[in-house]
Amino acid sequence: MREMTRRDVLKITAAGAAAALPGLPATVRAQTTQKRELVVAQGGDIASLDPHLSTSSNDIRISFNIFDNLTSRRPDGKLAPGLATEWKLQGQTAWVFKLRSGVKWHNGDPFTSADVKFSIDRSLDTSLKGNRVTTVLPMVERVETPDPATAVIHTKKPDPLLPARLGFYGGQMVPKKYVESVGPDVFNQKPVGTGPVRFVSWTKDDKIVLEASPDYWGGRVDFDRLIVRALPEMAPRVAALLKGEVDLITQVPPDQGERIKGNAGTAVNGALYGGLYVLAVNSKQPPLGNPLVKQALSLAIDRDAIIKELWRGRGVAPNSMIAKGDNHFDASLPPLAFNPNEAKARLKKAGYKGEEIVIETTAGYMAGDKPMSEAIQAMWRDVGVNAKVEVFEYSVRAQKNRDKTFKGLWWSDPTSTLRDPDGMMWRLLGPGAPQDYWRHAEFDELGNAARFSVDEKFRGDAYRKMTQIFLEHLPWIPVIQPYEDYGLQKYVEWTPDPLQQLEIRRFNFKFRRA
């Protein structure tokens, strides 16, 4: 048994005094609570409750709790059983999922393999109005249901990542009978799932109210009601936390973290983002077609300074196009180097003649995008690059993204939805993908082979070779893998998720009670 320290004695004395003297400052009592209601504030309201109609982070924080997936991506990055208890690959293209028994929908109907087939078919259904997830499970050919407790998913080609795909958006299971009887509109307004909380009400741009599902298969959550409020402005969101009106807030920028930590009853908890912040490069635009120029740009960026000054240390420097925490991340590679002299040498070797190089950025679509652009512009000018920053609006960015008309470099925050290079780097940089501005025959061949191989060793080798090619050609210049910070009351015991989900199931959320 651990010996009692002086701090423990102080804690116990303080807790005892707080319990005995209700007049004591709230700060001392704030470490525990008797609350039965969890109040969360996020930066925007939800758009829809039907999980097939949205991929936005504000929406999935709710929908991943009303609904369950067959597989569950845990905050530690591992894939755990969800509505499926086990799954295995049969041959090359058939995945067999054994379903959890005794699971009920919030309206009392039993969950069966017919719901699995219905959900996957619906996610692929382009005639479903507003369907936003038709591209999540493109490799699925058909779903068979040999019995109510088994679903067999056949893919067109081998798909090593199918269980991972089923664990993220597009993979939520929806009730066949209910959706068919009430129709998509009512389902979107009054959703029924199998998840730990069930829907009560939604007041637009104000709050959504959910209540604990008493018989949840994963154990009843540690509260009776969950209220998610939309507080768009950062300062009022932080104020609401400091005053104790809310228990947990999302999207805390680094400079607000100090304030939250400085308050006795509140704390900051962050998860390393499951993805990277990169400057994507239009390699078709001279002189960015020259690998030496891109190498020089990367070498001229002082990532440590950016992390320390702009992010208050809340981030790490990437070493490749694979995010830390993902499959096949190579921890033995050093972080991308800062070497201004070498940058100058490579620019000279490349024959760079002072052509203008443009960074296009929004002011705030991505945390810190504009200040980071300005810092990098200064760093590039220091090595003789004629760098320019152009600010544009978010919707202009979306348009340019679609038309592929970026002028030089632009910010992208690729999310590693499958925690695997295929779900991030390859889906964006692959042939025909949204950030296809550069091609390399060997890179393409390796990327395709890795996508369709169920041999993880083969895939590992492929990604290692691709990393070497990537580091030479730099279709992205990775800058930072930041922390996603949350503010919370100290009586909240909760681990944030790298993919922006709000995991409040029993294994991950608890109120510290007196």
């Binding site: 936003r132 591209t135 637009k204 768009p232 300062a235 104020a239 348009q399 949204p434």
Partner: protein, 308 residues
């Protein structure tokens, strides 16, 4: 009330033309400003998806056709289906209206209740300490950005003093700070204008006559001054009321108040054409109705307006 009918008819005609112009301008501007489809789909969606969603939203049709369809529907109060909410736009906007009215009316009442007495007292006690202090404050209220006032009130009143909630819409307590923030500008404007309008009348000959006749000062102010000073005050008050109902974007954002200002701004970012068209239309209707009411009140206050 001779000439009331033609007066009403001409006003209504003007209102209809204004509404048509407003909705046309919004229709054109929204379509010039960009495409909503890239904002709706995940960044890696294929081109075929873009085409599918564009067709689903009716955006693949030629602009004149879209405009004709739009006008036809507006006549029936149908602004189309919201792209973002996937519900009829008019229903979404109707959901937000109560909160807007609540905040607008509270801010307006607060502004009036404070500004009128302050303006009158300042005029009557011209150049006194009270006058200088209140007009100084009014200057601050008029020049400080709403955003600044809002955050300041949250920090001081909610956080430091712990008196009122920081944001949200729950009970009357949560209405106080947003109403004060939103009403600050109107309060200051009305107070300053009331002061100058009352001052002007106080200098008039008939006031000197009233005083000479021995009418008490209170009666001079209440009976002789206020009614004559009312026309400019009613004008600015009406205009302010319209602004309070339609222009609460910043206040609504700071206090997370679910009103149509915030809805409009969100919808502009989302390129949600139907909602933007509907909110602008509804705001325009409100403004026009208020102006219409002001015209009627003029008529009551000043018979010369009626006969002209």
């Amino acid at each position: 009330m001779r000439g009331l009918l033609p007066f009403l008819a001409s006003r209504l005609l003007r209102a209809a033309i204004a509404l048509w112009l407003v909705s046309t301008v919004v229709f054109v501007v929204m379509r010039l400003s960009g495409d909503p489809v890239p904002l709706l789909l995940p960044p890696y969606a294929p081109q075929s998806e873009f085409a599918r969603v564009r067709a689903e939203l009716g955006l693949d049709r030629p602009l004149p056709v879209q405009y004709a369809v739009f006008l036809g529907h507006v006549m029936h109060g149908d602004f189309g289906q919201s792209i973002h909410f996937r519900q009829p736009a008019i229903r979404v906007v109707a959901d937000y209206l109560p909160a807007t009215f609540e905040l607008g009316l509270a801010a307006f009442t607060l502004a009036l209740v404070v500004a009128l007495p302050v303006g009158i007292v300042s005029a009557v006690k011209r150049n006194s300490l009270v006058d200088q202090a209140t007009m100084g404050l009014a200057l601050v209220g008029q020049s400080a950005p709403t955003f600044f006032i809002g955050i300041l009130l949250i920090l001081i009143v909610s956080l430091k003093l712990g008196l009122l909630p920081t944001s949200g819409r729950e009970g009357w307590q949560s209405l106080v700070l947003p109403a004060l923030t939103l009403g600050a500008f109107a309060m200051a404007s009305i107070a300053r204008l009331t002061r100058s309008a009352v001052l002007e009348v106080l200098r008039a000959d008939y006031i000197r006559t009233a005083r000479a006749k021995g009418v008490t000062e209170a009666l001079v102010v209440v009976k002789h001054t206020l009614k004559n000073a009312a026309v400019p005050i009613v004008t600015i008050t009406g205009l302010q009321f319209g602004t309070l109902l339609g222009g609460a974007v910043v206040t609504e954002t700071v206090f997370a108040w679910p009103g149509i200002g915030r809805l409009a701004i969100q919808s502009i970012y989302n390129r949600d054409y139907p909602i933007v068209q509907c909110t602008v239309f509804v705001s325009a209707v409100l403004f026009i109705v208020i102006n219409f009411c002001i015209d009627l009140i003029y008529g009551l206050l000043d018979p010369r307006v009626r006969s002209s």
